[in-house]
C-alpha cells in the first residue's frame, strides 16, 4: 500500500521522474550466488527528509559488505531499510526474497534479519539474563539456546545478573550482540559493530561476521573503524547523499586476507552454527546437528524464494563445503592473531570492565579470555 496512492500512481512517482525504474529482472548479482539484497532507486523518508535518495545496491549471499560514508550519509537508514524497519517510499527493493513494498512481506523479512543498531534494544531495568530470555521468547526461540550464547559472549558470569542500566556502554553492546546471536538471522545488519567495544570485543565481532558468512549468512556493516572493517569485508560500498556512490568489489583498500575472505558459496541451509567465543578463539566446537534444537526450526528457510522474483537466482547449487573446510575457515581467524599469552589472568578491569574473567574455556586453547585480553593488548609492545 505504500507503493501507490489512490489513483494508482506511485506515491513518490512524480518525484522520482528521472529515475526510470527498470521494469524487468534487475541484476544477476554474482554468478553462482543467491541475491539477498536488491535495491533499485530505493527512496526512504524519515519524516519528510529523504534519508535515502535513490539507492542502487545488490548484495549476494555470503558477502560481507562494508558501508562507508560520512555521518548522516544514510548508512543507518539503509540498514534499517534492509531490516524492513524503514519504509520504502520509492523505487524497488527486495531483501531475502521479500518485497519491501509489501507490509506483510516486510513483517516476514524482519524476522529473518538481525539488526545491531545504535539503540541497544534492551530493557534497562532487567538483568542481562532476563533481557536475553525475554528476547529469546519474543523471537520464539528455545530458552535453552540462550545459555550457550551467554557463555560464548562471556556473559555467563557475574554480568548475567546485573541490570542493563548498570552496565557500561561496551557491556551493553555485548548484551545486544548476544540477542543478535541468539536470533541467528540470515542477514546480519550491523551498524557500527565495533563502536564502543574494546579490542577483544572487536575481534569477537570480526569472528562473528566471518562465522556468519561461513554458514550461509550475509553481512552488511557500517563502520568507521575502517582498517578493521576493510580487513574482513569482501566489498566496500560508499554511501553519500543518500545514495550509493561507488562500490568496489575487490574490497576497498582491503588487505589480501580481506579479499581472500571470500568463501566458496555455501548452499542455502539454516544457519545453525555456534558463533565464535568472546575472546576470539578458534571455534573448535563443531556446529550442532542442523535441525536438532536449531533455533531456526519452525521458520521455513525461505532461501528458495530469494532473488527469484528479480531474477537473481543462481542456476546451479554449488557444492556444500565440508565441515573441515568451514572449520578451517573459522580457524584462519585464529591464525591471524598473535599467540595467546599463557600468563594467568586476573581479570583486570579497564574502563569498560569487559576483560573480566569469562567462562571456563576448553583446555585445547589453554588460556581464559582474561589472558587473551592481556595477550592481545600486549602483543604490539612485545613485537615492537
Amino acid at each position: 500500500m505504500e507503493g501507490q496512492d489512490g489513483y494508482g500512481r506511485p506515491i513518490v512517482g512524480p518525484v522520482s521522474d528521472g529515475d526510470k525504474t527498470p521494469a524487468g529482472p534487475l541484476d544477476v548479482g554474482q554468478p553462482g550466488r543467491t541475491v539477498v539484497i536488491q535495491l533499485r532507486q530505493a527512496i526512504s523518508l524519515i519524516e519528510r527528509f529523504p534519508a535515502l535518495a535513490g539507492v542502487d545496491l545488490t548484495v549476494s549471499e555470503g558477502e560481507i559488505v562494508l558501508l562507508r560514508g560520512p555521518n548522516g550519509a544514510g548508512k543507518s537508514t539503509l540498514l534499517r531499510l534492509c531490516a524492513g524497519l524503514a519504509p520504502l517510499n520509492g523505487g524497488r527493493g527486495e531483501v531475502l526474497g521479500h518485497d519491501l513494498s509489501s507490509r506483510r512481506e516486510r513483517r516476514e523479512l524482519r524476522r529473518q534479519t538481525g539488526l545491531l543498531a545504535h539503540a541497544t534494544f534492551l530493557y534497562d531495568e532487567l538483568t542481562v539474563e532476563e533481557n536475553l530470555m525475554f528476547w529469546a521468547r519474543a523471537n520464539r526461540l528455545d530458552e535453552a539456546s540462550v545459555e550457550p550464547v551467554l557463555d560464548r559472549l562471556a556473559l555467563a558470569n557475574r554480568l548475567r545478573h546485573v541490570r542493563v542500566a548498570n552496565l557500561s556502554a561496551g557491556q551493553r553492546r555485548r548484551a545486544s550482540l548476544a540477542v543478535l546471536v541468539c536470533r541467528r538471522p540470515r542477514l546480519w545488519l550491523l551498524d557500527e559493530p565495533h563502536a564502543g567495544l574494546d579490542v577483544n570485543g572487536r575481534d569477537f565481532v570480526d569472528g562473528l561476521i566471518k562465522h556468519a558468512v561461513a554458514f550461509g549468512g550475509t553481512v552488511l556493516l557500517a563502520s568507521h573503524d575502517f582498517d578493521r572493517a576493510a580487513e574482513i569485508a569482501t566489498r566496500t560500498v560508499i554511501v553519500a547523499g543518500g545514495q550509493v556512490q561507488e562500490t568496489d568489489p575487490a574490497g576497498l583498500g582491503g588487505s589480501p586476507e580481506g579479499r581472500m575472505a571470500r568463501r566458496p558459496p555455501v548452499a542455502p541451509a539454516p544457519y545453525v552454527a555456534p558463533p565464535p567465543r568472546w575472546g576470539h578463539e578458534p571455534d573448535d566446537s563443531p556446529p550442532p546437528d542442523p535441525g536438532a534444537g536449531s533455533p531456526l526450526v519452525g521458520r521455513p528457510p525461505r532461501v528458495e524464494a530469494a532473488g527469484s522474483r528479480l531474477g537473481g537466482r543462481a542456476t546451479a547449487d554449488p557444492p556444500r563445503p565440508s565441515r573441515a573446510a568451514i572449520d578451517g575457515a573459522a580457524g584462519n581467524e585464529a591464525v591471524a592473531d598473535p599467540a595467546p599469552e599463557p600468563a594467568p589472568a586476573d581479570g583486570e578491569g579497564d574502563g569498560s570492565g569487559t576483560g573480566r574473567s569469562g567462562p571456563p574455556q576448553p583446555p585445547a586453547v589453554g588460556a581464559g579470555p582474561g589472558s587473551r585480553w592481556r595477550g592481545r593488548r600486549r602483543a604490539p609492545a612485545e613485537s615492537g
Binding site: 505504500e2 513483517r107 534479519t113 545504535h118 539503540a119 534492551l122 530493557y123 525475554f134 520464539r140
Partner: protein, 224 residues
C-alpha cells in the same frame, strides 16, 4: 505473551513505588479539597460522601492508570525496543494483550491499596462485596484495554504525555460512569437497585475494546 507482562511487571516494580503514592496522595487531596468533615466523620450517612466517594475513587484510579500506561509505553520507546519487538515478529494482538494484562495487574494492585485507603479515609461500608469486586475487575480491564489501544497511538512521540489523556479520558467516560454507579450501588444501595446492569455495561465495553484492540493493534504497531 504472558511472559512479556511478567517482564514488564518485573521492571515496573520500580514504578509502582511512584504511582501508588501518587494515587493515595490524590485521594487525600480530594478529601482535603472537598470538606474537612468528610475525613473526620466515620460511618455517619452523609449524603455527600455517598455521592462522592466512588467517583473520587475512580477518578483517582483513572489518573493512576494514565501514569501506568504512560510508563508501559515509555518502557518500549526508551531504547528503540518497539523496533526490536517488530523485528521479533510478535503477534500484535499478543503484544496488545500482554501490555494490557501487565497494566491490569498493576492497576489492580493500585486499586486494592487505594480502595483500602478510601475505606479508611471516607469510611464507606460495603453492602455488596460481590458486585464491588466484579465492578472493580471489569472496570479495570476496560480501562486498560482502551487505554492500551490509545496509548499505542501515541507511542514513541514527544507529545505522548499530553496526547494520551486527551484521547483516553473522553473514551473512558462510560467506564467512569459505569464504575461509579455500580460501586455506589454496591456500597450503599439495597439489593434491589440494578447495579449489575452497570457492571454489564462495563463488561460490554471491555469486550468491545478487547476485539477492537486485537484487530487494530497490528496497524498501530506497524510503523511506516
Amino acid at each position: 505473551m504472558t511472559v512479556k507482562d511478567l517482564r514488564i511487571e518485573l521492571t515496573s516494580r520500580v514504578v509502582m513505588a511512584q504511582i501508588l503514592p501518587f494515587g493515595l496522595l490524590i485521594l487525600i487531596l480530594f478529601g482535603l479539597a472537598i470538606s474537612p468533615d468528610l475525613v473526620v466523620v466515620g460511618d455517619a450517612r452523609r449524603p455527600v460522601i455517598e455521592e462522592i466517594a466512588p467517583g473520587l475513587f475512580w477518578l483517582t484510579v483513572l489518573l493512576s492508570a494514565l501514569m501506568a500506561l504512560g510508563r508501559a509505553f515509555a518502557l518500549e520507546a526508551d531504547d528503540g525496543n518497539l523496533d526490536a519487538l517488530r523485528m521479533a515478529g510478535l503477534d500484535p494482538a499478543g503484544v496488545f494483550l500482554g501490555k494490557a494484562l501487565a497494566v491490569t495487574v498493576q492497576l489492580v494492585a493500585v486499586e486494592t491499596v487505594l480502595g483500602f485507603g478510601a475505606f479508611v479515609v471516607f469510611g464507606a461500608p460495603v453492602a455488596r462485596p460481590g458486585l464491588l469486586a466484579a465492578t472493580v475487575l471489569l472496570a479495570t480491564v476496560g480501562i486498560t484495554l482502551a487505554g492500551t489501544l490509545y496509548a499505542a497511538l501515541a507511542a514513541g512521540l514527544r507529545v505522548r504525555d499530553t496526547l494520551v489523556p486527551l484521547l483516553v479520558l473522553p473514551v473512558l467516560a462510560p467506564v467512569l460512569l459505569g464504575a461509579t454507579q455500580a460501586s455506589r450501588d454496591a456500597l450503599f444501595a439495597d439489593p434491589g437497585v440494578p447495579g449489575w446492569s452497570w457492571a454489564g455495561l462495563l463488561a460490554v465495553f471491555s469486550l468491545l475494546y478487547l476485539g477492537v484492540g486485537m484487530l487494530a493493534f497490528g496497524p498501530l504497531l506497524e510503523e511506516s
